[in-house]
């Protein structure tokens, strides 16, 4: 990996994604006593940064591979991202989802012409079904976060951010599967002078925090957080990048997440999902030591079920 490779990734996916806007809020600057810039991936196609990694992963395939389609298991944003990215390139996307996944998630995938393959609601069934499709259809498996091409695609959010604001002192991201954090770390390494990257993580699913401490990939005992995008684990592709480069991981309580989410909805008038709010909640928690800094926050997505809001 080097700067040229990442720049090429950005050049390659550019026409398939939005260069999302960066918003600011005077009130939030006042609260933080800092200059805070929000990279709005909630305005990305299909509503989340995942579009970047999914697009790059498909562009990375040979024509023969593309002709046989791609497959992933996800009931979240990556399911929609892979479906839409595949649709844009005329590729089939098989999406393995648990039978009991919310109807609204299934509908979203169908909107983007993803082919839903239902399975039982456990890891083994999910992996078995994905494997079966790989074998039967010859489709290429693309992991939602633990895949180099996905990580490099995700890096483009921070590349754009640093192109527009080259003197950011910090970038905050959430950490769940680790794909966005790893990508952001690579981008800050190659596209900034000295921008540190801090991740926010819900305390209920603090596997990344514990993995960093122990040096090996830890698992979560529960998935009990409102930040539904962050319930997954790190993987062997992204953890080494995180271990090598992350500044720190800040753990936040559920109440902090809801507070941060509400503040952004009310004051910035934008819809973000709880996972996005985790990055901002981490900043709010650390604001005393970040005074007068230039701070970027990647708002990772905006896909929420409006009938299930926490306020």
């Amino acid at each position: 990996m080097d700067k040229v490779t990442l720049q090429n990734v950005h050049n390659r996916i550019k026409s398939y994604i939005h260069n999302t806007p960066v918003l600011t809020s005077q009130l939030i600057n006042t609260i933080c006593e800092a200059q805070v810039f929000f990279k709005c991936e909630n305005f990305q196609k299909m509503g989340a940064f995942k579009m970047r990694g999914a697009t790059n992963a498909i562009l990375n395939l040979t024509e023969t591979q593309k002709s046989k389609g791609v497959v992933t298991h996800s009931s979240g944003n990556f399911a929609q991202a892979l479906s839409l990215a595949a649709k844009q390139m005329g590729v089939k996307a098989y999406i393995v989802m648990p039978k009991n996944a919310p109807q609204v998630k299934k509908e979203a995938v169908k909107t983007y012409k993803g082919i839903i393959v239902e399975c039982d609601s456990n890891l083994e069934a999910r992996e078995f079904e994905a494997k079966r499709i790989q074998m039967e259809k010859g489709a290429t498996f693309i992991h939602p976060s633990n895949d180099d091409a996905v990580i490099y695609g995700n890096a483009t959010a921070a590349i754009e951010f640093l192109e527009d604001y080259p003197d950011l002192d910090y970038i905050f991201t959430p950490v769940g599967g680790g794909g966005l954090l790893a990508g952001t770390l690579l981008a800050s390494k190659y596209f900034s002078k000295n921008c540190k990257v801090i991740a926010g993580e819900p305390i209920a699913v603090d596997d990344a925090y514990r993995s960093l401490k122990s040096g090996i990939i830890e698992k979560n005992e529960t998935s009990n957080t409102i930040a539904d995008g962050l319930r997954t684990h790190l993987g062997d592709r992204n953890f080494p990048i995180i271990k090598a480069h992350v500044d720190t991981i800040i753990r936040v309580e559920e109440d902090d997440i809801v507070y941060a989410m509400k503040l952004i909805w009310e004051r910035m008038k934008i819809v973000i999902e709880p996972s996005s709010a985790v990055a901002f909640a981490a900043l709010l928690k650390e604001k005393e030591v970040l005074k007068h800094k230039k701070i970027g926050v990647i708002l990772s997505g905006g896909n929420v079920d409006l009938s299930q809001l926490p306020f």
Copy 2:
């Protein structure tokens, strides 16, 4: 009124307000089979276009008048707008509000250092109290919508819109007190070749629709709409402008408003208030006859109580 005067108003208030962004949505273009552009006054300072009129009205005063303050009666966005505009210029703002106004509205006014004067919850008490402050303090009364300087200030939203998109065929606004609609009509008269202006109005408070039919200002029997910013009546300053220039007024049902609001929240990831959704609901209702047109929609504001959402 002429083009130069309006241009001067814009030049004068420019540094006190945001030139708000214009957003688009591929999905909404597909639904409407048209090109739709949203002028995001929900991103305006204090969260609504009212900031424009309030700012212009205060800038219009003499230094002596400014030194004695301004007064209005409002429990909605104009209360916040006048408070913030006055604060920015070091002017006192007295805000007459009914005792039983929601605490959240009172808090918002206090944030912007508006001086709240409570009264009973009826028109007479409100007007009496405003009159008393005019007499006692020498403060200048500024009406939320039926005031030339307010109307001209509001016009600047459409002036900016037409500067960026000079070939809009239509602009949609909501109509309540009539201040935004009248301002938009003046802007389209002087700053476009042939841009027609259409207003959306909740059927439950369709005084503007009926006034246009009868030729005189009609009143509403109820205020029974979710679009809380549109419960007021037209006035003698804005009605003549509306009567002379509006293309048509489209009435929409409460369900249409909630549907339009939800569509914008879910798909555009932005927070708009129900009154803003009325303009878009009107467009959705008329979309069959507007195919292939370039259509602007002014999203008038984004101040909602998140604990009271209709979905």
